[in-house]
Amino acid sequence: MQREDLISYLERLVLVRFTESERKRIMEEINKILDFFKSLDEIKELDNYEPLFHVHDIEGPTREDEPSHEVELQRSDVMLNAVLEKGYVKAPRTIEE
């Protein structure tokens, strides 16, 4: 993918639109990032390395399947920023013509 196309692709993915000056600035930053990551290409025999899934080498905690009422929020707090209709959160239509 051309780097110019990459910017429009990313715009589409994250649902934002850049101005021309923003595009220029982001292009520069993206170039730096991509060049930095290029150093990964120099690593040989990648199969010899365990993939890193998490920056800390810790075991993920689990919990028992017991409900806790403490976790439930006051409904009014949660829904403060939502448009409600009969208790449901109102959202836009989900498909295009």
Partner: protein, 482 residues
């Protein structure tokens, strides 16, 4: 219809782990079906900043059970990834799921399910199983997904533990898809993982390609019956395109269960790059051999093993054994009844044909069937002792299924027993002879015509007449009157 055109079907089945008391990543109550919308929520399942997910251990164990039952290879580490998309059912703008790609792996892969199609065994391969969270539930207040002007979301479902089971495209017809799904559901039911009768607990997406043309995905199918219907519709649609010389285009279609057709669908920002990456909030969890072994020990007998046992222990053929076992409640009823009744084949036949037929006919929820094993045993014993006829047994069956009627007392009360008193039956036969002189003449000339007279006697006695005795009396009378 031509059968040479190859059909390839792959299924993606979403199953909620309804056996759990809490959601997958938080201690919020999971049983949302009878609750008011947006009442079972917490910062985690709403994806509020700063909230941390913590995995439900039971959910992992159920996933491992399913993986084992579907003969899968289980990953040594459980790794969760974020799958990003923008859609109102997902508050965080990403779903915590698993990724089958570079640097990541689903909880299980490379499994298979055995099915029997037209008496022949067949393997449907399982590509992978994901453990993931369910998104919220969207309602369409002003019509359907296609017509509604806006949508309403209930986030109670958001965060419910979900298994995504994906098959290889090994299925070759809509009927095979049904047989596979019936088997899969039976396995899940035996494991006690999910109650697939609950609304929304079982959802299917289907991939289908006809004549090696483009693959079409059908989304949002809610029942086995609808899977069969949607696939049948889609095969016809694609075949007619091909027959007209056209090509099938690769697309996603939506199954409209009310009009029973598939319609093309383009969902906003949906078929994009999901930008998967390991969820930094969820460090990997080791799935040790010891843990798997310990879970295996707790697993119940599964359908394949039970079918095999039914064949050995009760001398049933594989077909009967399978029909019983795939309806777990029926197999349980069979085994209870078999303790007190040892003509197993007859017992199996009555359950599979008449009993199951009425349950389906009346659309009775198997858990609400009033009949107990004792009822069935009593009926069959009365039949064996010649106290009721086969026809009467068939007539009593719906009463047993629906009302749990006690056959013995019912027969006593209603005089529903077989008419085998010779003198009484002889009177009825003589009556029939008087009413149908021409039929009597016919029967004298042609022995086969006797059936009409037997039928007339049955009608007069409302099916209570003992057929063998009736035939004997009719023959005697025919001879004596000659």
């Amino acid at each position: 219809m031509s059968f040479e055109i190859p059909v390839k079907i792959g299924l993606e089945i979403h199953v909620q782990i309804t056996a759990l008391k809490t959601k997958l990543f938080c201690a919020t109550k999971a049983d949302y079906r009878s609750e008011e919308p947006n009442t079972l929520l917490c910062p985690t399942c709403l994806g509020l900043p700063g909230a941390l997910p913590k995995v439900n251990k039971k959910a992992i164990e159920y996933a491992i059970m399913v993986a084992k039952a579907l003969n899968c290879r289980i990953a040594p580490k459980l790794i969760f990834c974020r799958k990003h998309y923008f859609y109102p059912d997902m508050v965080k703008n990403y779903q915590i799921s698993q990724y089958d790609g570079p640097g990541s792996t689903p909880i299980a892969s490379n499994g298979f399910v055995r099915i029997i199609v037209d008496g022949k065994p067949k393997i449907v391969r399982i590509r992978r199983i994901n453990l993931e969270e369910d998104p919220g539930r969207i309602h369409y207040p002003t019509g359907s997904l296609l017509t509604s002007k806006y949508s309403l979301v209930d986030y109670n479902r958001s965060g419910i533990a979900l298994l995504e089971i994906v098959t290889e495209p090994d299925i070759e017809s809509p009927r095979e898809a049904r047989i596979f799904l019936e088997k899969l559901i039976a396995i899940l039911e035996y494991l006690g993982v999910t109650d697939t009768r609950l609304e929304g607990a079982f959802r299917v997406d289907a991939n289908i390609s006809v004549a090696d043309q483009a693959r079409v995905e059908i989304k949002n199918i809610g029942s086995i019956k609808d899977v069969e219907r949607a696939l049948t519709y889609e095969i016809l649609r694609q075949k007619s395109i091909i027959q007209k010389g056209g090509t099938v285009s690769r697309e996603t279609r939506h199954w409209d269960s009310s009009s029973k057709v598939t319609v093309p669908l383009r969902i906003k920002e949906f078929e994009e790059d999901y930008r998967y990456f390991p969820d930094p909030d969820l460090p990997p969890i080791t799935i040790s051999k010891e843990w798997i072994e310990e879970i295996e020990k707790r697993m119940p007998e599964l359908p394949d093993a039970r079918i095999e046992r039914f064949v050995k222990q009760y001398g049933l053929d594989e077909y009967r054994a399978q029909v019983l076992v795939l309806n777990k409640w029926l197999a349980d009823l069979f085994e209870e009844a078999a303790k007190e009744y040892n003509n197993y084949k007859s017992l199996a036949d009555w359950l599979i044909t008449d009993f199951l037929r009425w349950v389906k006919e009346f659309n009775v929820d198997p858990s609400r069937v009033k009949a107990t094993p004792k009822h069935i045993v009593k009926l069959l014993k009365l039949l064996d002792e010649g106290l009721i006829s086969v026809r009467m047994a068939k007539e009593l069956m719906p009463k047993i299924v629906l009302e749990g009627v006690d056959v013995e007392s019912f027969v006593k009360q209603h005089g529903f027993s077989k008419l085998s008193d010779e003198s009484e039956l002889r009177r009825v036969v003589e009556e029939v002879f008087r009413e149908y002189p021409r039929a009597v003449e016919d029967a004298r000339r042609n022995p086969k015509a006797i059936n009409f007279l037997v039928g007339a006697v049955m009608k007069k006695t409302k099916g209570r007449a003992d057929p063998q005795l009736t035939i004997r009396i009719i023959r005697e009378l025919l001879q004596s009157q000659q």
